[in-house]
């Protein structure tokens, strides 16, 4: 590193308020080729997810052509600007074996955990983002970040177990404060001064944890296990404090914008959802660029989406069951309207990462985003032929621009492929008929 830091020049005070002005990407933090950090360590590769609700209309969503330069049927025409950045997977199935087909749940849970849920309260295993985060996101401030564009904290496709759903950040104001509030440490500052607040927190927590060691000496094995479980969350907090007390690696692309002045308006009208999605996406992009996390999740709609269309009286999910199939078109016109809006927002999401320069490429080049939904044909709660996407080249490990037809194979192969890309050592993933040890080789470099 040459010691230059643009923050030194442009960071200052305006009427007592800290202000930051973004600069074009400088390569001073990277090696000569812009392909790695200046000290030779590779650029981090991140894993993200995106979830949409209520699937597809097969006839107007699934391209005729497989492989590269696939056609874009009308329901996914919005993907044209990002086609070169994504892979589309169709015809992959989720197998529930003896488990029930839990409407709007079984499909996405299998796709993301590899296991069919047994009942409505069951969330088996853990979702793929959690598994990958344990491998790649242990040195960042947040192990994972989860956000939703719906404004509903419960709309999340990420969980650690049935009792521990990773609830979603839903308010752009709160999300900004969480990411770039007083606990944020700009990785590009020339000098590092540990936060006194964090030091106090850390010392208090250390004291508490020390007491548990004393406690462990006087309780039996069963209680030790209970105490250990109880304090595991606190140890995660301690790890987070430890990281905040160390000087972070500089990140050239990190330039947090000003905080939003007002929150997105509540509501599930697609215009409002779109506004919220953009605000949350912009924040997520910067959180990743600033290395606040290396694993992140976004939901554009809940499973069983309740999003609405101006002037149409039925929310998306209700429309899937109440709108008659148009005899001329062969599909439900209003339902397709909702899916088209979702695809527009998928394009917006991918495009936002693709626009952020990093090294000699973009942030998207150094990530793998996995996108899935809850049903294929939502009207009939189908979970065969569940569509999925990936975006990004994962640091050069993945090809993009491909349409892969699954021909009824396991949808879990995509999750397993992602795990292999991130170097996980498991030799298979999923249970029963969803168990696979076969990557989708067509997308691997």
């Amino acid at each position: 590193m040459n010691g230059m830091n643009r923050r030194r020049v442009l960071r200052g005070l305006l009427d007592g308020t800290a202000v930051c002005v973004a600069l074009p990407l400088l390569n001073c933090f990277l090696n000569g080729n812009g392909t790695a950090m200046a000290d030779g360590s590779p650029l981090p590769v991140r894993f993200g997810t995106w979830g949409w609700g209520l699937g597809l209309n097969k006839a107007i969503f699934v391209p005729q052509k497989t492989g590269a330069n696939f056609d874009l049927p009308e329901e996914i025409q919005a993907l044209a600007p990002i086609q070169k950045h994504i892979n589309l997977f169709t015809g992959f199935d989720c197998f529930r074996d003896a488990a029930p087909n839990l409407c709007h749940k079984t499909g996405w849970v299998i796709a993301r955990s590899g296991i069919a849920p047994a009942n409505q309260s069951d969330l088996p295993g853990e979702t793929i983002d959690v598994t990958i985060a344990k491998k790649i996101s242990t040195t960042t401030r947040f192990q994972t970040l989860t956000a939703t564009a719906t404004g509903n904290v419960r709309d999340s496709y990420s969980y650690e177990n049935a009792k521990s759903v990773n609830i979603a950040d839903w308010s752009p104001l709160q999300f900004y404060s969480k990411l770039f509030g007083e606990d944020f440490q700009d990785p590009n500052l020339p000098d590092f001064k540990p936060s006194a607040r964090t030091m106090v927190r850390k010392s208090v927590l250390t004291g508490v944890l020390d007491r548990t060691k004393e406690l462990n000496k006087v309780v039996g094995a069963e209680d030790k296990a209970r105490i250990d479980q109880y304090f595991s969350g606190l140890r995660d907090l301690e790890r987070q404090f430890d990281q905040q007390l160390k000087k972070p690696e500089p990140r050239a692309a990190c330039h947090p914008a000003k905080a939003p002045t007002e929150d997105a308006k509540p509501g599930l009208d697609y215009e409002l959802v779109g506004q919220r999605h953009k605000m949350m996406t912009d924040l997520m992009v910067m959180a990743v660029a600033c290395d606040q996390t290396r694993v992140f999740n976004m939901a554009i709609a809940a499973q069983q989406a309740a999003t609405t269309k101006p002037g149409y009286d039925k929310p998306h999910h209700t429309a899937t069951h109440e709108e008659p199939v148009d005899a001329q078109l062969g599909y439900q016109k209003e339902v397709s309207w909702f899916i088209r809006r979702e695809m527009e927002l998928w394009a917006q999401y991918v495009g936002s990462f693709a626009k952020m320069k990093e090294g000699d490429g973009t942030l998207l080049d150094n990530m793998l985003i996995y996108a899935s939904t809850d049903q294929s044909l939502a009207r009939l709660h189908q979970i065969d032929g569940l569509p999925m996407f990936t975006a990004g080249r994962a640091g050069g490990k993945l090809k993009t621009g491909l349409h892969i037809a699954g021909a009824g194979g396991q949808g879990t192969r995509l999750g397993y492929t992602a795990m292999k890309v991130f170097g996980l050592e498991n030799t298979s993933w999923g249970t029963q008929s969803n168990n696979t040890s076969k990557e989708i080789g067509e997308i691997l470099v």
Binding site: F95, D97, L380
Partner: protein
């Protein structure tokens, strides 16, 4: 013959199956599931016996019903600035579902018509309101078809009620109706077999998709809470088709939304099922008390779910009162309606405690000719 939409409705093929001699089907190859002169089947799907053509014009000349809860509400309470309370709007409409008054319903409700219908000839007669089956059998009694046949909700293969019906039959264990045939000498032809109905207690054995039910599973019999389902009938098998004599009444496990336990209470019940070593399908037919049937509808489907297919519960109530064709009360008004339930069954092995069953099962019900009850 006008082509009938048969996707997913295997009961409909019964008529064609009747003309197939020998009865052995492709799925029988190598299988012999008749053990100790017995074979049993478990419910793995089911729908109301509603005849339908691809465009619906033959059976629904007036069109498909499109006036459901939403449309009714909008018409009754237009958004014209009038201040209305929840009690006089939403709650009033809910009350209209649970305590309907047939005379008070004045919205259009189209009955199914046409000449062709599914089901059985219950009274042995050919009446002016009877249908002819797709394979030409006359005198088919199925007035419930007239009441339900023009609801998009129940039209296969993708009406949401039709779709869920199959799922509920497969996935709600309460719906585990079992049919056991004993004293069977041949699944192709046997003039005298015994048929017993039970409720099973176990999940079905499925393939990896969970949607295709596999033969060869095992079912325990519910001898504790399933007493009222245990029914004995006499039957005969001709060309692989089992036809039973009618029995005075039968309860058939029937849980709908939420899996709430319930039953179809069928009077003058009889069955006609196409049998193979691995599957059985056909009709359970008879008459249902219209008040009981309607209560089952209201209990099993919320207004929200009825709206999925523009289903007007008060409209149905009015229709079944108009179409009821049996069991007149003292005033002469019919209290029951002819019906056919299309059922798909898959072969299972029964695990039953003989003594317990023997003690639990009531004496063989007296069979009566259908006409005796009318």
């Amino acid at each position: 013959m006008k082509h009938a939409l048969t996707a997913g409705f295997s009961a409909f093929v019964l008529g064609a199956a009747l003309s197939v001699a020998g009865a052995a089907s492709a799925d029988d190859a190598g299988a012999n599931n008749v053990r100790d002169r017995s074979i049993a089947y478990a419910v793995s799907g089911g729908h109301w016996g509603l005849y339908q053509t691809a465009d619906g014009k033959a059976e629904c000349p007036d069109g498909i019903n499109e006036v459901g809860p939403r449309e009714t509400f909008k018409a009754l309470f237009p958004d014209d600035g009038t201040k209305r309370s929840v009690v006089e709007t939403q709650l009033a409409r809910e009350a209209a579902i649970w305590s309907p008054e047939e005379r008070a319903y004045n919205f259009p409700y189209h009955h199914a018509g046409g000449k062709v219908g599914l089901g059985l000839n219950l009274d042995g007669k050919v009446g002016p309101n009877d249908f002819t089956s797709p394979d030409g059998e006359k005198g088919i009694d199925n007035q419930l078809f007239r009441a339900l046949g023009c609801l998009r909700w129940l039209r296969g293969p993708d009406g949401i009620g039709y779709h869920f019906s199959d799922i509920y039959m497969r996935e709600f264990n309460y719906n585990r109706g079992l049919i056991e045939l004993t004293n069977v000498d041949s699944l192709a032809d046997d003039p005298d077999v015994d048929v017993t109905i039970y409720r099973g207690r176990d999940a079905l054995m499925a393939d990896a998709t969970g949607a295709k039910i596999m033969p060869g599973g095992t079912q325990r019999i519910d001898t504790k809470f399933g007493q009222k389902f245990i029914t004995h009938l006499k039957g005969k098998i001709v060309n692989g088709v089992l036809t039973t004599e009618p029995v005075k009444e039968m309860y058939w496990p029937f849980a709908w939304f939420g899996g709430n336990p319930g039953a179809q209470h069928i009077l003058d019940m009889r069955m006609r099922l196409k049998l193979t070593q691995e599957r059985a399908n056909g009709f359970i037919a008879g008459y249902e008390n219209i008040e009981e049937w309607y209560y089952g509808l209201a209990r099993g489907r919320s207004t929200h779910h009825l709206a999925y297919g523009s289903v007007s519960a008060p409209g149905i109530y009015k229709a079944i009162h108009e179409l009821a064709d049996a069991y007149p009360d003292a005033s002469g008004k019919n209290t029951a309606i002819s019906m056919a339930w299309g059922t798909d069954l898959t072969q299972v092995f029964l695990k039953k405690p003989p003594k317990e069953v023997a003690e639990a099962a009531p004496a063989a019900s007296k069979t009566e000719r259908a006409g005796d009850r009318r």
